[in-house]
Subunit: 382 residues, 2 copies
């Protein structure tokens, strides 16, 4: 199908950009000498994940058991479920392992560790579990120097659970925007995770995997000594948040929302689009960054940026395209809004956050350089 | 299935509250002497819509052609597609009408009006179109006194398209929070839409339907003389935004997200939940209102509010439950966070915006007063 024929709103993936992003990350990981385990929560799309694996990824990271089930059913067996496990979810994890899936779990507390050990013992299953380490204080995990780290390690180790390793995610990297700060956080992430592994080893607990990563720290890391693998997700498509963090250019962003002009408010200088927040998502993460992109950056259908314009507002199925504040070129064109953006005109919008925007769609339209496209299914739910 | 058995995260509908909300709105419309046409974009769920129709609703309002197709396939024929039409979507609208669906379209500009007339002429189909009126400046529509109103009316009327009426949506009602301001906006919405109808009639164009509404203005309206029907959507479930607007109590909110405690950061007083923004949505609309509820209001599994706590942050699959700032009772309990919210504990979170949160889930769990539940499917996409 040609771009002009796709019904709007629709989620487009520029396949050439995606392949460039995949190649860039994989080359970086190869240079650093670590394995790469992409986080597939960004796309939940088998076509994308197959491209990541074809480029050299070893195994995948998932954020839900539904992702684990879907990708295992498609033949991908090496899966890290990177959200701290709770007892009620163990039956689904067990079912996957019984089917032959090399599903690895994560915990960051003694209660869950003991529950996994007891459940495994009860069902004759030897789970493999990584311990989540907190290297930047932004969310979950045990700090490298905490006693709890060894407590959890011993509960697992002494009760028949294989300690697969340690893992961390320096998600506070999204709040930074200089190469120096990102490199420093990448080193903090690496050093903290390696230190946790060393403490476990000193306590007599094998700790083979040392898994770190976020898109910004992965791309900023200068060396990863002691780490065995890196995880990252959003790099595959990139987005405006990553642009503001400084790890991609606007023309690296592979995801856009195709939309149609459906109306105008001439006196306000608005064009009304059929992409509201249901298509763009409610993600406004760039509002806290150096450049606030509203609900997204408009482009022409051919991808040419419209730097003087912004998606200034969104209702469920209506988006408002307006002049970016203070842009003299765009201001001068306000009176011509109906001429510049006539009814039926198609535009593309670069999203703030590719993970959130993609999740609003049942499928991507994967667009080739010649403008032809095919549908790539994605899924949602838990 | 019992509440305790539902896997998390999950979207729960309290059926008794939903039925109360439906009955309240329908009773109000009956008193005002207008037909009620619920906007089904909030739930996209046939079970909910059947309950609205059983209570007296006449026809439905949809925000996408996919909703129109799905509900028509389920036997609902009287459908208003309340987003301004563009030429590229006419073939899908035609297909629905050819199957017998009484699909009504909306336009607010001469270009689209002419395109509908030409397309209808070409295909021998007499479309019915309502003209969208702008009564509060928040989005789409033609102001009642604008010449464009008559231009659009004439283009339709003189080219074989039935003018079904006028319709408006005073969406700026979401920004208000007093009964007086809401009643004044409801009157502005009514008066503006009735005025637009009168102008069309004076120009010799029949204008049978005068359709107004938003949840706040529908509930605040004191009289609706001249209006023939009201549309509203979120009232069926309500949410924290509507609570802040002042049109529902917290215990009217029928939607909640079921979640499990998966970890802690004791020194920060955090409990980590398995409901992140993928479950709660990125909607932070209460941040601009009198009471900022973060990513939602936590409750115990039985629905008891936890007023000292808030969902203070969210990543894709992680939510952070923390003490609401300045709450002395909750502050005193920070050290006991692991005791108050142990690993595996289930909680419910009232959402900021029911339309956005529901859209994150493939199904609702409809919970009866005895705690038993059934699954109600919902759909997404366009």
């Amino acid at each position: 199908m040609k771009l002009e024929q796709i019904e709007t709103p629709a989620a487009l993936i520029d396949v050439a950009r995606m392949q460039k992003n995949i190649a860039r990350m994989q080359a970086k990981m190869n240079t650093l000498g670590v394995a790469f385990r992409p986080h597939v929560k960004t796309t939940k799309c088998l076509d994308v994940v197959r491209a990541q694996i074809a480029a050299g990824a070893r195994g995948i990271t998932v954020s839900t058991l539904k992702e684990a089930e879907a990708f295992f059913a498609a033949g991908i067996g090496d899966i890290l479920y990177a959200v701290s496990m709770v007892p009620a979810k163990l039956p689904r994890a067990l079912a996957l392992r019984r089917q032959g899936c090399d599903l690895k779990l994560v915990v960051d507390n003694p209660t869950a560790a003991a529950a996994i050990a007891a459940f495994g013992d009860q069902h004759g299953e030897s789970f493999e579990v990584s311990i989540e380490v907190d290297t930047d204080g932004h969310r979950s995990g045990i700090q490298p120097e905490q006693q709890t780290l060894l407590d959890v390690g011993r509960i697992l180790h002494e009760n028949g659970v294989k300690v697969g390793g340690v893992m961390t995610h320096a998600g506070s990297s999204y709040e930074l925007n200089t190469p120096e700060a990102l490199a420093a956080l990448a080193e903090q992430e690496r050093a903290g995770c390696v230190r946790a592994a060393e403490r476990l080893r000193e306590a007599g607990i094998a700790c083979p995997a040392v898994s770190v990563g976020s898109t910004p720290t992965a791309l900023a890391a200068r060396y990863l000594e002691g780490a065995t693998e890196v995880r990252a997700g959003v790099y595959v498509l990139f987005d405006l948040v990553m642009h503001n963090v400084g790890v991609c250019m606007l023309d690296d962003i592979a995801l856009s929302v195709l939309t149609t002009v459906i109306g105008h408010q001439e006196d306000k200088g608005w064009a009304i689009l059929d992409a509201g927040w249901m298509a763009l998502s409610r993600d406004r993460s760039t509002s806290r960054q150096s450049h606030d992109f509203g609900y997204g950056q408009p482009c022409l259908l051919n991808g040419t940026l419209l730097p003087g314009y912004v998606i200034s507002g969104a209702n469920q199925e209506h988006g408002i395209l307006a002049a970016a504040r203070g842009d003299p070129q765009a201001d001068a064109q306000i009176e011509d809004i109906t001429q510049h953006f006539p009814i039926g005109m198609k535009l593309r919008i670069l999203p703030n956050h590719a993970c959130a925007t993609g999740a609003q769609f049942p499928e991507y339209h994967a667009v080739a350089p010649d403008g032809s496209s095919v549908e790539w299914q994605r899924f949602y739910g838990w």
